[in-house]
Amino acid sequence: MAKATAKAATNSRRRRVVPIPKPPKEAFNKDRPAGALLKAQALHLRHGLARYVQKVARHLHRVGELLAKDLSTIKTEGDVSEYARQVTAILHMKTIKRAAKFKQAAH
């Protein structure tokens, strides 16, 4: 990670030099009580994570169904194409979104 205290990079193009003080390392305090903004950020992140988990759980449920599929029941090209469509949709998120759009449009 680029340090906030890194010195100005040297450069061949000349500029007017303005000295600035070195900030103190003592400013660092991980134990400083978190303010309202950071607490709100944590809340928002957890909300985001919950949304993500819901999305993943839906997919995992679907993955479980597809893994448990008895392949002996696949008899026709139509059966194969339907299974392939569902598996591909899981493996490629964009395909899922597109399929959802088609589904919405169809209704």
Partner: protein
Amino acid sequence: MPAGLDNLKHIVVLMMENRSFDHMLGALMAQDKRIDGLDGTQQNPDTQGAMVPVQPLAEFQGQLDPDPDHHFPGVDLQIFGGAPPGNGRTANMQGFVKSYFQQQQDVNQSHKIMYYFKPDKLPVLTGLATQFAVFNGWFSSIPGPTICNRAFAHYGTSFGQVGMNIFEWKGPYLSIYERVLLAGRTAKIYYYDGPSSTMEIVNLLKNQPKIFGTFDQFLADCKSGNLPDYSFVEPNYNDHDSDSGAEIASDQHPDHHVQHGEIFINNVYNAIFNNEDLWKSTALLIVYDEHGGIYDHVVPPDCAPDDDAFAASADRTEAGFAFKFDRLGVRVPAILVSPWVQKNIVIPGPNQPNGRKFDHASIPATVMKFILKDFDPNTLSPDDRKKFLGQSRREQAADTFLDLLTDNMQPDDDIPSFVVQ
């Protein structure tokens, strides 16, 4: 078209945290009367009836603890001095000390909300302000806290939010990043690192990792010349450890150390300057999300209300009245850095001759103008064109700043290089 605009290939916005214009830049008025800052006569009453003057006693850290209130009701008190809601009350910026007193019931502590920095304490910010373009009239978008104000920078609206609550994106307006992508161009939000993360969780939910990068990547993209058309940079929001040691918060949010924010601003500025092609083709806006409850003397002006659907009820404002987003928030520092900006130009504020008012909705409004400079939306499908051109009322009414780019370039040898001693 001015050469500066013709050469423009990148807009970069660095949004810092929670400092008012007067607190950071107001003292510049002593050396430049065009700055709408402090002359020492500004004051606020305290709860004992004494008048508290502004004083150049601001410190880098340890002074504004607890964090001054900047939620909607608190800012209403700061702006209107405690006058109850209703017709006929006048904004007077007389409630800052009273507001800060409410947090600890400590009269002496409440006076510190009037403190400001002398220019020599903030050499990077004041150095850039006096070299490039400084705005006398850039206001936070809402008289409220961070999340809703930052939403205006990302969407041109906060979708009715006046606080820090979680909100789900419900449209109809896309973020500026999505609009830029629809035009076949590039855009990124660069957050500092994983432990600091972003304050733009709504977009994170939809577009990770498509439009997100870290500050290390920003530095690498500047160096390699791969900076997107539009970049939004977030500082480090918290103190944390990393593989390379202690990472000190650089957002300047009270009570984070202001000098570390100065160094961060300098790092962004240097990253752009050090790539000569990038320097000649980039406009960098340094701006603060809101005032953080700290004193400013300029009354926030009225503005065009946002979409009717976004009006906030009295329940949501928690201030006893509804809000149509028809008043801007408290003034914040804003500086436009580009070699194509006239040296030491002061953009007048709304109370001055030829005055202009800007707020964070000016950011997506400006980026749209930049993209439309050489993009024909008629090349999009009707559906995408509608999405691309969709702008909130506030964004439609917002002033833009590309006109500040001129035909003339400032020479490198006159431009400041801030070197840590």
